[in-house]
Symmetry: C2
Subunit: 383 residues, 2 copies
């Protein structure tokens, strides 16, 4: 049975079809769009007209198509109108990024701020202030922000941050504590970091993104899709077992990866006050710092072997503070992976460093709304 498709639904689908082709295929003429979508040229012209008028597409001037024939006018994603906001509240910083529809970063700010022991209401007030600055800047640039996603450093299910042990938070509806003129969704920062890496970074279809901050999380991408588990609480790499008799962890267990390779453990073992100091000490071949990095890397390697055995990983991207520490962490971690996995699996996953630095989560957060607009532009068109 073919269900009759109502005109509105058909138009909505075709708008998505056209916008999707342009977003994947770069600037395209109306003729090329008609060919790729199978729609008639007149339908494409009408749809493109609506998308140009709404500021989703812009004409890019004459483009010669093929060797012969008249040059056609191409359309490309326009960054002039639609935008989205990515927010992050982590243990020792807040961050915001605004992306426009073309994927360009239009605003980016990171505020170092120790949030440990502070009530959610207090911290989210500061996020609100940062978000308002971001929205004002977007507005001043003529942008309409279609939505925001807030990244948080703990497992999220059903719009609730179940717990953030390093902040001392539990069952926080963090998005509802923000009072912004755009809808706000809540998501785990490692999951968003993985999406950021997928869309704006290395972009392989299958990988584990590891977010090293005060806490350690992970986001799994399989077949270019985020794996979220049954309830959305997957990827808690920081609490994977390294040693049952190890140090107490804030989560209530002991010997979790975080107690060896979290930023606090690393700095304490390395005898350094902060990450830049640790990196400087490592560059200066400071023995204490090198031993601290080795120990953290070995623990990371051990936890990752469990992850590889369970999840079947070929590629692991290290992000957050593990990015700048990558040259010191990767060789010992790879040695552990090789020793424990090579024989069983016949191969060892490739470790690489995230190219997005500290922005992976906010880029993924902003990218989520961009991807929603591209998939369903009709939902975001003025009526």
């Amino acid at each position: 049975m073919t269900q009759p498709v109502r005109h509105d639904a058909m138009r909505a689908r075709n708008l998505g079809l056209v916008l999707g082709e342009v977003s994947r295929g770069g600037p395209l003429t109306r003729a090329a769009l008609a060919e790729r979508t199978g729609l008639t040229k007149s339908t494409v012209s009408k749809l493109v007209g609506d998308l140009v008028e709404a500021g989703f597409l812009a004409e890019t001037g004459p483009t010669r198509v093929g060797e012969r024939g008249r040059p056609g006018v191409s359309v490309a994603l326009s960054g002039a109108r639609m935008a989205s906001l990515g927010l992050e509240v982590n243990v020792d910083y807040l961050a915001a990024d605004v992306l426009d529809l073309s994927g360009a970063v239009r605003f980016s700010r990171r505020v170092d701020r120790d949030n440990r022991g502070r009530a959610p209401e207090v911290v989210l007030r500061a996020v609100q202030d940062l978000a308002e600055v971001a929205l004002a800047e977007a507005r001043a640039a003529g942008l309409t922000v279609a939505g925001a996603v807030l990244a948080v450093s703990g497992p999220v299910a059903g719009g609730v941050l179940a717990s953030a042990p390093n902040l001392g938070w539990r069952d926080v509806r963090a998005a509802e504590l923000l009072d912004l003129p755009v809808p706000v969704a809540l998501e785990n920062e490692a999951n968003l970091g993985a999406l950021g890496e997928l869309w704006f970074g290395a972009g392989a279809p299958d990988f584990l993104y590891v977010s090293g901050e005060i806490g350690i999380g992970a986001g799994l991408v399989v077949g270019s899709e985020l794996f979220r588990g049954a309830r959305g609480l997957s990827g808690e790499l920081g609490h994977v077992l390294v040693s049952a008799t190890g140090p107490d962890c804030r989560c209530g267990a002991r010997g979790c990866l975080e107690t060896y390779a979290g930023q606090e453990a690393l700095l304490a073992a390395g005898g350094q006050p902060d990450l830049p100091a640790l990196v400087a000490a490592l560059e200066a071949d400071d023995r204490t710092a090198l031993a601290a990095a080795d120990a953290a890397a070995e623990a990371l390697g051990l936890a990752l072997t469990s992850a590889v055995n369970l999840l079947d990983l070929d590629r692991i991207v290290l992000g957050g503070v593990f990015g700048p520490l990558f040259p010191w962490l990767a060789p010992p971690a790879e040695a552990v992976l090789t020793a424990r996995l090579a024989s069983l699996r016949g191969s060892v996953p490739v470790l690489s460093s995230s190219t997005l630095g500290a922005s992976a989560a906010t880029l993924g957060a902003a990218g989520r709304t961009i991807h929603r607009i591209l998939a369903d532009p009709a939902d975001f068109l003025p009526h």
Copy 2:
């Protein structure tokens, strides 16, 4: 754009639609099938006629539909013609099950046989003998076996058993070593056990099935689908870390779960020659046996906490030898899960015992072909 659907493809799709409704909804009249599929009654009658003639469906006699009206003749899945074969080669046994299309077990045999240190060709020769007996019995019962799936105790990718450390095998195309008159596919036994549990056991939409044998594997079901990872090598729970300084494992690593809770480790620690003797000793409150079960359960709990943190599990089904040992393993394993997970996640996954016993993998293996027939009956109809 609606693509024109060719008549053959349309008929194939409609045959699958009708068979799917009957398999999910039990005996149904042609009128009820027309209502559920949206097809006309005459189309349904023709399709049902073809499926009855092919032996996929059978009439089940008059069924009164609702309160009034004439009783209609219902059709149900028929077990009279189509069947499938599930095979398993494990470390210390071989097994075969034949299921008919109605899901009834028509043949089931398990042969204890120590396969350690034997060449794949030698062991597969014994599987071949067992499969030939199963196929002969099926043929004698008038059944047509549409295909076979072979379960093996190690990670499988691209039709190759990558390694089976407990057998000493590596890169074995095990299905190709069988010479049977039906197509044979290869799959990991824990994955098939999970499918067996999904289709014929507890049947929850989200769970981890743990297969405890000489080796320990796991199959993850999310949203009633098997999660296979990027290459199909996921679920190697037996090689998840329990202690980095633990006993050497056959996989080349050390302190893997298998070295604590695999059947060999359990029997050695319990001072018993085989599983029935261990169960008898546990029932008699033998102190050595109880301590062995406790130690295995604690290791199982530790490995499962890593799995829960990574995969987001609410429900864990223990199968294989963990089934008969469940009363002794579950309480200490649950204590570890509670101690390590309750605070972070706000809940602890439920442990239960598989109801399928040693047959989970062969039932899942046979079920795979049954599900393929139900999804695409046209592929299996005589031409």
